[in-house]
Symmetry: C2
Subunit: 373 residues, 2 copies
Amino acid sequence: MRFLHTADWHIGRKLYGYELIREQEDAFAQISRIAVQEKVDAVVVAGDLYDRALPSEDAVKQLNKMIVELNLKLKKPILAISGNHDSAVRLNTGHEWFKETQYFLNTTVEEAMTPIEFPDTQFFLLPYFQLFQARNFFEDESLNDLTTVIEKIICQMKKRFNSEKKHVLVAHFFAAGSTKTESETKIEVGGLNAVPVDILDDFDYVALGHLHDVNALHNPKVKYSGSPVKFSVSEAKTTKGVWIVDTEPFQIEFVPLKPLNDIILLEDNYENLISPRIYTGMKESDFVAITLKDNAVIPNVMNNLREFYPKIISLTRKNQVLEIPKDEADVFELDPMKLLGSFFEDMTGEKMTKLQEKWATDSLEYVNGGEMK
Amino acid sequence: MRFLHTADWHIGRKLYGYELIREQEDAFAQISRIAVQEKVDAVVVAGDLYDRALPSEDAVKQLNKMIVELNLKLKKPILAISGNHDSAVRLNTGHEWFKETQYFLNTTVEEAMTPIEFPDTQFFLLPYFQLFQARNFFEDESLNDLTTVIEKIICQMKKRFNSEKKHVLVAHFFAAGSTKTESETKIEVGGLNAVPVDILDDFDYVALGHLHDVNALHNPKVKYSGSPVKFSVSEAKTTKGVWIVDTEPFQIEFVPLKPLNDIILLEDNYENLISPRIYTGMKESDFVAITLKDNAVIPNVMNNLREFYPKIISLTRKNQVLEIPKDEADVFELDPMKLLGSFFEDMTGEKMTKLQEKWATDSLEYVNGGEMK
């Protein structure tokens, strides 16, 4: 059979304050078109359908519309799991009815043990779970390590393997060897220890969600699809897309998605950035992350740049590196005025004037208990 | 046909801080049993399934379980609408699938115009709505009055009337002539102007939700079912239950529900309340609302009473009436010491002693800028 593998839709997510509804709807429309064009037999969504456990009403409306479109209008079976950003309980609402139209949505470890049967393939849908849930399921309080738990789960799944079929695992965790991008929050990746990829060997394909970059893991049959939309500046140069997977004979292909509005990295001097040579070539609706090469202070720089780049999502300075002594304790031993002088120089590229030094010294004396002169 | 009419489940609601999960589950179990025993063809739930727009995960789990039980296990068609406490958008999730098993859930004015057809009866499910939603639906910005809107809606519904069938309206609003109990918040009743009952005459039965007391409205064919559980002290003496409605020949019967834990009103002196004669006859799990007839100050009264009545939900004093001059402005003209003296007397039944008066006068002088003596 042939299926489409996507994940990490994060409906409701914002990009540095900007709504991503239109970008997500456009990416979804592309995914739907690909599903139809590629004549896939099912669509896999490997977790994090929503961006948060309590999605807004708009996000609920948006996701509901997508699922209705894909499953009821286009008649595509859906194989989905809850991710760490979803509330399993909330997402679960109605799942007893969804099966009737082959929308399979698993939110508990228990459900993962029963494969979803297609003529030549068995799907095991393992949602994101917390260790205490695995402990409850196995009735084993000693379970304290994600890898051990996943091994136990796979062991149970294998008892249900039909040797005449192919076996696909859909899951949402941090697999070893992967790197991470900014848009997964650290605590989540930290909360889930890395799972070594080799314990997943019994499956013909593993459709993962959790990391947002398709290149986070390089393994011929264990894949992150990545998110369909860029969610952080660190993803600016990555290509978004979906996997089209054939189980027999095994073959996979990455089909890219074209961003409705892209994230553009600009690194230049202020003077160049406000010259038509650069900004006229830009699409106004794109998100722009600017790195200024200037050292000088530029008053009101953000507002000025916004006139030319309306959707600036970050503004940093290339040379914004404060040399800090290696041993942090040293900082406290440095003379405060020397520290300030060095900071000022790093920021502006110039030394403080005598008058500036006097202001600083007076202020310092004042906060240290002296009188303002 | 025969159907059961209930409403205002308010899953997730608390009673003065006490969870009502067990009470609500028990009431639901009774409703299910009645539905089976009475062999009803459908169950009507006239809004406020949840207590709040953002129900807790526990509440979501609880309601989902009830609906699955009633619709999928007992195979009863459900006719439900969203009430003012529900988030129409959230409750709506999955409704496209629910129809397949005759779980009809309307959350928009538009949906209300299409009747749900049973062999001999048409049901029009009109959810709670806000005026702007009706304005959008009718594309008429001048609509500013609920009664006019309901008349327009009924006018549209009547175009769909099949004269060979009976017609039932399911709705969630404040119908005129009704009284209200404490457990509907005032703003909701106030936000919805009363709808005169006579404009509902075209229906053979109107199954209403919103007011929690079955006796809130006395009309032979326009009925509130009331909530299945008591939600406030003011409902202590009401009987909870459901309506069993036959459409042909028309006949209705109120079937009471037995509270798992009731609200008991106790009005007595402290001495009597802590004597075995009273408390030994009580069920420990009942909720108790106490009115103390004593005038004297009783130190630590709540904690002491809790030893005998563990679930006190209110404690008031019968004689706790502070005589306030009719015109509020007068209060500010009264001498503060006279006001305090009168308050003290109302609270304790005694006059202040000279020493108490001195403490009060000193304190007053101090807060008015004088020195503490």
